[in-house]
Symmetry: C2
């Protein structure tokens, strides 16, 4: 019942997480009927972000700069480094608000079946940070999934060789869940009850 | 905590109906981390739709063609014409599924305070359709708001002069509500219990 260009737009909007067919229709109608200026700005900002946003050369989170604002912030505690799987996990931990150290983002987890090895996760870069920075504790906050646990064990073994205290966030996060969707309270609890491994 | 280009993208995503700050963050992360191809396609389709989609020359709904698929469909009953405020209302009525006539979309309602008069709503075009097409009944399905009612009364008076039966959908739709958000069952009921006015 929609013309092809509107139908195509509705389909494209469904790439957004949490947007089903009805929401996508409503969004397309809203943009085209009432707010073409905002729609044009969205298109422009999407294009610019896709083109320019890469990864921080220190922690690998997403940024268009050489290094990100968290790495550049001199008030962050350089003695604690937290390893996470994705930039969205950094966001979740920042929103929980009780961690004040620095981050390292793996951009994934070890997954031999998908051909993802230590090289893809920047683990050499992580080890070189343990050599060159005054890191005393490495907190591993990969997801509590099979792959996240295997990744945590792999990193823990490599890091112990550097004489760094290695810890894992507590299993307050439900097993099989995804870190980025956990509420701040649970995440804060998981951080405070972390165990040396 | 986000870099400027990511922050700008998050702000732009908030133009979508029903998208708050947390959803916008999640959407931006998802697009940039996992699906840049889909993000690029969304940007492209937004741009194309904004540029090409206009209004049907017969019913004023949104389409990039001269006339829309509903107007072009020979199986729709030309003896019944339904007047709505927006293209989203056409969608809602089509989804209710019990109306098989044709449409006319006002693209608004009479609103002297906003300077919206009969000329802005294409009422002359609507009247010319009553002259040139075999319309027997005009169903007015403007929203049950003060402006929607005033618009309905205005159109009813003009149309009665053409010897056309004029009806108003029943008030099964909650007063003050917006037609596009009503469930199909309520809308179907409102259509079947319409009253001659
Ligand atoms: Zn960084
Ligand atoms: Zn049409």
């Amino acid at each position: 019942m929609f013309s092809p260009l509107i139908e195509n737009l509705i389909q494209a909007l469904r790439c957004l997480p949490g947007v089903g067919p009805k929401s996508a229709q409503r969004m397309a109608m809203h943009l085209l009927e009432r707010d073409r200026e905002a729609a044009a700005q969205l298109a422009e900002r999407l294009t610019l972000a896709i083109e320019k946003v890469g990864h921080c050369s220190k922690c690998r989170t997403m940024t268009e700069a050489e290094t990100c604002a968290l790495c550049d912030n001199p008030n962050r505690d350089a003695s604690v480094l937290c390893v996470v799987e994705t930039p969205a996990d950094v966001l979740a931990i920042e929103q929980a608000g009780n961690f004040h150290g620095r981050y390292f983002v793996l951009l994934g987890h070890l997954s031999p079946i998908d051909g993802v090895g230590p090289g893809d996760l920047g683990i050499d870069l992580l080890m070189s940070r343990l050599d060159s920075e005054p890191v005393e504790e490495l907190i591993i906050a990969t997801n509590p999934t099979v792959e996240g646990e295997a990744t945590a064990q792999f990193i823990a073994e490599r890091a112990r060789g550097k004489g760094v205290k290695v810890s894992r966030i507590a299993h307050g996060v439900p097993i099989g869940g995804e870190l980025e969707y956990i509420d701040g309270g649970t995440l804060a609890h998981a951080f405070s009850s972390r165990q040396v491994i």
